[in-house]
């Protein structure tokens, strides 16, 4: 009797790329729903558009590169890119912001570098930074969390806003949108108010603005799920959060009037989603345990530095892209000790037993 021969192992593989990405998408659901709850339908509309554009560009690029389209789409990586990008932009941003950002993410940042696995930079963050620096007005359209009565837009109104770029007749941008807590903090500090005065405003909750806190919590939930399923490891998220919190805590203790608390930093803006979902993108991160800690810590510190002394209220995307550049070097410098060898030392034997 004759048999099929394949190389070992002869056992069903533990993971697949598509499966890993599916887990990530699943973990994004609670945070996405929380965002929808607080910011309205725009979040879901953007996610839908982002995913749609991402898959379309991915398919076009894969076809242009003469690779199998369906097999490549099955890796679900374009879905993750589109989804993360959509969460990063304001929920009422016009559709062409998404289109341009995703085009840049998928075409330039991903496929021009060789596609999945070969991109040195996180595609979603490249796309986000492109639209952030190109369209500052559109990128500032963050709605007020839905705790305020004047903000609700119906699904239809939201669609109309996103597709046309202008609000329904009865609404005013100023009444719909509001500065994010990071904007408020930044503006407040620049105009000479103290942290206490800024956070005394009724919209602030225990750490940061009420809605933003909850969003952070739900992304944290998804992140913990990824940790639990061992899709990601603790090194990067923990290092990012500590990388933000430790310097923030240090300056806050020196001068609590001029520096926001570490809790405010961690739960405002994109730190939680960045720590668990963006910095952990395996392709563009460091891969050794120590390298991951340094990589995450670098992102955290850069977030704090840019927020505090830089030109942008939030900085996750810049911090991630900057550390992406360092990742290969970190990998090289942080090779683990090989079993039976001393760290960094040559093998005791000649290695050719």
């Amino acid at each position: 009797m004759r048999f099929r021969t394949e190389s070992s192992p002869h056992i069903i593989p533990a993971h697949s790329v598509g499966g890993v990405m599916q887990q990530v998408l699943l973990a994004l659901v609670p945070g996405t729903l929380a965002m929808t709850w607080f910011f309205g339908w725009g979040v879901l509309v953007n996610v839908l558009l982002g995913v749609l554009f991402a898959v379309a560009f991915e398919a076009a690029m894969v076809a242009a590169r003469k690779r199998p389209v369906m097999a490549t789409l099955a890796d679900n990586s374009a879905l993750v890119t589109g989804w993360l990008f959509a969460l990063a932009i304001p929920p009422l941003a016009p559709f062409w912001v998404t289109l341009i950002g995703i085009a840049f993410a998928i075409i330039v940042a991903k496929h021009l570098y060789g596609g999945l696995g070969y991109n040195p930079f996180n595609p979603a963050m490249v796309g986000y930074v492109v639209v952030l620096v190109s369209f500052p007005r559109e990128m500032a359209l963050w709605p007020a969390p839905d705790t305020l009565p004047e903000s609700p837009l119906t699904l239809l109104q939201t669609l109309q806003t996103v597709l046309t770029g202008s609000l329904p007749a009865a609404q005013e941008w100023d009444s719909v949108t509001r500065a994010t807590p990071l904007d408020a903090m930044r503006e407040g500090l620049v105009s000479g108010r103290t942290v206490d005065e800024i956070t005394a405003s009724p919209v602030f909750g225990s750490f940061t603005e009420t809605g933003w806190e909850w969003i952070g919590n739900f992304f944290l939930l998804g992140g913990l799920y990824l940790l639990f399923r061992r899709v990601i490891h603790w090194h990067i998220p923990v290092a990012v959060i500590l990388g933000v919190a430790i310097p923030a805590g240090f300056f806050w203790m020196l001068d609590p009037g001029s520096y926001a608390s570490p809790a405010f930093h961690v739960f405002s803006g994109a730190v939680i989603i960045g720590a668990f979902f963006i910095a952990t993108d395996p392709v563009s991160a460091s891969t050794t345990p120590l390298g991951r800690i340094l990589y995450g810590a670098g992102i955290g510190v850069l977030i704090f530095v840019i927020r505090t002394w830089g030109g942008y209220p939030d900085a996750v995307a810049f911090a991630v892209l900057l550390m992406n550049m360092v990742a290969p070097t970190l990998d090289h410098l942080t090779r683990p000790r090989i079993f039976g060898r001393t760290r960094g030392g040559p093998p005791p034997g000649d290695g050719h037993a």
């Binding site: 009797m1 004759r2 048999f3 099929r4 021969t5 394949e6 190389s7 070992s8 192992p9 002869h10 056992i11 069903i12 593989p13 533990a14 993971h15 697949s16 790329v17 499966g19 890993v20 199998p68 097999a71 890796d75 990586s77 596609g115 999945l116 696995g117 070969y118 490891h233 395996p282 392709v283 991160a285 891969t287 050794t288 991951r292 990998d331 090779r335 683990p336 000790r337 090989i338 079993f339 039976g340 060898r341 093998p347 005791p348 034997g349 000649d350 290695g351 050719h352 037993a353």
Partner: protein, 547 residues
Amino acid sequence: MQLHRFHGGLKLPDETAASTADPVLVMGVPSRLTVPLGQHIGEAAEPCVQVGDRVTKGQRIGQSKGYIAAHVHAPTSGQVVAIDHYPVPHPSGLSAPCVVIQADGRDDWGDTRMEPWLDWDTRDRRQLRQRVRDGGIVGLGGAAFPTAVKLNPRAGQRIHTLIVNGAECEPYISADDMLLRSAPEAVFEGIRIVAHLLQVDRVLFAVEDNMPEAMRILTETLPDELRDWVRLVSIPAIYPTGGERQLIKVLTGQEVPSGGLPADIGVVCHNPGTFRAICDVVIQGRPLVSRIVTVTGPGVRHPRNVHALIGTPFADVIAAAGGYADDVDRLVMGGPMMGFAVHDDAIPVIKATNCLLATRPQDTPPPGPLMPCIRCGECAAVCPAQLLPQQLYWQARAKDFDAIQDYGLFDCIECGCCAHVCPSNIPLVQYYRYAKNEIWAREKERQKSDIARDRYEFRQERIEREEREKAERLARKKAAVKKKPEESQGDSDKQAAIQAALERARAKKAARAAEKQGGKSAESTPSGDADSNPASDTDAPRDGDPR
């Protein structure tokens, strides 16, 4: 006892329940046995019988050559009907030299059987080691490394700890489990012999915690006089704990140095089956001609363990396990993680055959589409050698063989953990085997070309030397030849020539005078002699040239 952890590894399903339900089935003698001459790590044995010879059971039919090598014995009595290349269990599927024996059914030991040594403890270490060598014993855990070599530590190397590797860590395999349940006494006896031979201080008998029945039987049957220095240790079932280096780490916390051997840190490890084989050859004079094989997997009807003669065709062993399930499509020798799929079930059981695993497409689906590496690092997280498998993969692809060795390619034990967890279906271990083979091939090539270069350079040097010597000789001769005319001979030659001319003239005159007088011919020889002499001088070195 304080246990330690090695980095990475996998929790894999056990899958041994089916094959441990029934006792070990002792298989009969097949009609025809194909016994490969190279069943072990090292040089293949050389046949020491001829086609047509009658052989008895246990007779040596393959003579080992070299130190890392093992003899091969006839598994049963019968007639040698062929010595030729036949397909053997090997990942390549290639053929190798085998001795084919037509069994006579008597399974007769004849009178070539080694003398039983009930008094083995009176034998010295050299004798015992020789007996193990004579028995063709190799490691029965699957690697088939010649055991006598491991029993012969280098001078000055003291072995303090003997480890019994009962960590059968691959899923499905239960050969050691069943051996420990069915013949613990033989294993203990083997331990006694090896402990005596190596003069160890202690024996650590490691059994995985998913083999509770074996552990219970061992605990009950451990002889009282061994209790002081043989310690039964239950260890967590994490793949690949059965790897020698991983097991040593778990038990002692020490790491075998990279590129070194366990003996370097005073430890020697053997599989329980090997202890039993040692017991058999020393106490009963029975060489290694059979072994326990686990026949299992969803692809056989009645998974179980069998005791089969070396040389028994796989097909017979499968038949003993109730035959194949309907949709079987893969047959693996060894476990699912490190075993290799074979093309054909006509190939024989060899000393390394610890398991035959048959699977169906739903158990071992064809690998999914190969995806690019996404650098997830799962491979590094599970690597028990603490390597960076994905870096090794990139380097193997780039054929950067210096970098890949720098990253520890030769520390890779090919356990397959990385390939199992790889979400991109990359056959990582294949890349490492490729790189290792390529490096070995290049090294061989380099050695060959080194030898060729050395020979060439030597030849060039010899030719140059000879030419130099010849030139010097010539120069000397020339100088000598020149000296004569220049100094003493120069003038005398001229004078001689003048003299000769004068003489010739005189001779002619004399001749003419003689003619006139009607006398004899003239004497012209002296002038001829003078001409030929220098010529013969320059010729002389040419005759003496060794070329």
